[in-house]
């Protein structure tokens, strides 16, 4: 790995780690503060507060992505495209099963993002192993 890519990886781990630490703090803080707050602007702000550290994490990933070499970028992009397809397929399948009341489940959109990220990681590993 070239020195530039190594330092980009190091910077990403630092930035992503900091963003996720901040996310944990904000989620706990916002949940605690929201206990006695009536619906309104303040509650909306508290509900949206955890999104801010996620934006920081996204920026960290984009900075890493642009510093990868062309093969790694290609692998990541291929994995993202495949994960998106699988994610859409999973969302539609579960959506139809729910709307036809074949089985019911709590539709929690909070888990869709982490599901896609985990899927992307698995697909990327498979692509690396195959190439």
């Amino acid at each position: 790995m070239s020195q530039r890519i190594k330092s980009a990886n190091r910077r990403y781990r630092l930035e992503f780690g900091a963003a996720m630490t901040l996310y944990g703090v904000v989620v706990i803080g916002a949940t605690y503060l929201a206990r006695d707050v009536e619906p309104g602007a303040v509650l909306t702000l508290l509900a949206l507060a955890p999104v801010a550290p996620i934006i920081l994490a996204c920026i960290a990933f984009i900075r890493l992505f642009v510093s990868l070499d062309e093969r790694e970028r290609r692998l990541s992009a291929d994995a993202a495209a495949l994960s998106l397809l699988i994610g859409i397929f999973a969302a539609l399948t579960l959506g139809f099963l729910k709307s036809f009341e074949v089985f019911t489940f709590e539709w929690d959109m909070l888990w869709f993002g982490p599901f896609l990220i985990a899927l992307w990681g698995v697909v990327r590993c498979i692509l690396i192993a195959r190439r």
Binding site: M1, Q3, I5, E70, R71
Partner: protein, 68 residues
């Protein structure tokens, strides 16, 4: 696409890491290039040609040519 990267690298006495540093890519990418698992973009192919001071066509071999 086949290529003579491994042979050229050996002639220069470079490790995959050394070549990766010169090309500003990861060692894994050099490995994929050498095994013909990844075809480089035109800018990277030119960079490789520059590093080895050879024309691109002396480094990369079109598959149809090798099959002949």
């Amino acid at each position: 696409m086949e290529n003579h990267l491994k042979q050229l690298r050996a002639e220069h006495g470079w490790s995959q890491q050394d070549l990766a540093e010169q090309l500003d890519v990861s060692r894994q990418t050099v490995n994929s290039l050498e095994r013909g698992k990844y075809d480089p973009s035109l800018p990277l192919a030119f960079k490789i040609a520059r590093v080895f001071a050879r024309p691109i066509e002396k480094i990369f071999v079109e598959e149809t040519e090798t099959e002949k």
